[in-house]
């Protein structure tokens, strides 16, 4: 389930310990961004383009590209395979003229299709993630109700952060479980 093409060219992600450090750093950064977004909402509500646009984009586009799964190029193989051959047959050599070729997103052909064992593992991890995310959604609903008891304005400010948090969980929890639990790739060999 772990991709052979690491998104980090300067170190290998074959060891589980390395992957756990990357995953922990990912969650710290992502939760920190949500915290900053929420802080800005409380103290400077409304008309906040940096927080409103860049942070969700970073959480939903850039950070999943590190973990993978939802798209090619991350540490986890893409869950639904790759349907565009140009993505994994890409030549990473840059040419002097013409458009620049992105390095992020390049991958090997072995990552394009999941085998039977990997598909079962993917589905099983999604079952666990779904159950976890369901409880998180319940907790967020209760928190919204509590916030509503304090003030409607409080709810409207909390609502954005709640959906950011839920989206973060939905977009990265299965990959986190896979990266956290998958043994060292050397040991497997």
């Amino acid at each position: 389930m772990i991709s052979e093409s690491s998104p980090f060219p300067w170190f290998s992600t074959a060891r589980r310990r390395t992957r756990r450090i990357v995953v922990a750093a990912y969650w710290i950064v992502a939760l920190g961004l949500i915290g900053v977004c929420q802080w800005a909402q409380f103290f400077r509500p409304g008309h906040n383009p940096v927080v409103g646009l860049i942070y969700p984009l970073q959480i939903l586009v850039f950070l999943p590209a590190i973990l993978g799964g939802v798209r090619a190029g991350g540490m986890v193989k893409p869950f639904s395979g790759v349907h565009f051959a140009s993505i994994y047959d890409r030549d990473t050599t840059q040419t002097l003229f013409g458009p620049a070729r992105p390095l992020v997103g390049s991958m090997q052909a072995s990552d394009a299709i999941l085998d039977e064992r990997e598909r079962l593992q993917r589905d099983s991890v999604h079952f666990i993630s779904y159950t976890t995310a369901r409880w998180i959604a319940f907790v967020l609903l209760v928190l919204q109700c509590v916030a509503g008891l304090i003030s409607p304005a409080f709810t409207s400010r909390f609502g954005a952060a709640a959906f950011l948090l839920l989206a973060l969980v939905l977009w990265s929890l299965p990959q986190t479980l896979i990266l956290w639990n998958e043994p060292d790739m050397e040991e497997q060999q």
Partner: protein
Amino acid sequence: MNAEVVVLGRRISMARQTRRRALVVVIYAAFSMLLAVLWILTGWRGTGAWVIWAAILACRFFLGGYYAGGLVKPFNGKAPKEHQMPPSLLALKLRVYQPVPAGEDSAYRNDERELHQRDHAHYLAFQAVGVAVCVPMFIASMRLIRPSLMSWIPMPPDAMYYGLTLVTIILFLTLPQAILLWTEPDMEEAQS
């Protein structure tokens, strides 16, 4: 998956795929109507919990999955609780009492194929909810960027976020079962 559902004491066959699909459509239409009626009457203030209860009852009587009693076997594979007390008079009058046959593991325990189906349905549901959550994400982001752009929405932001959370929880509670009911072929055909 069970082949029939019991409604007020009457056994209704759900072996055909078209019937199960119709049931799924009816349930989601009922949820939409309930949300709309509660919004018109109360603005979801104090009545949002009714939607959660409706979703739980829909699972309990029709869908199953997270609660024992519906068409889909319990996802956790655990047997329903056996009550020492006899069923209440109200349950008997309404004919909702469903005796569980003792010692029949196949009624609630998933075999290998059903476990794979369950996991795959959750994978599909997870993708769907992940995409669905992007809609409130987008609205929340737009409200942060320029609140005046979202002024056309005819409800206050706190009610909007609350309603979207209710919809998300309905999807969380019902979508995997709905996918299983929608995709499972006719049971007679599967047996032949």
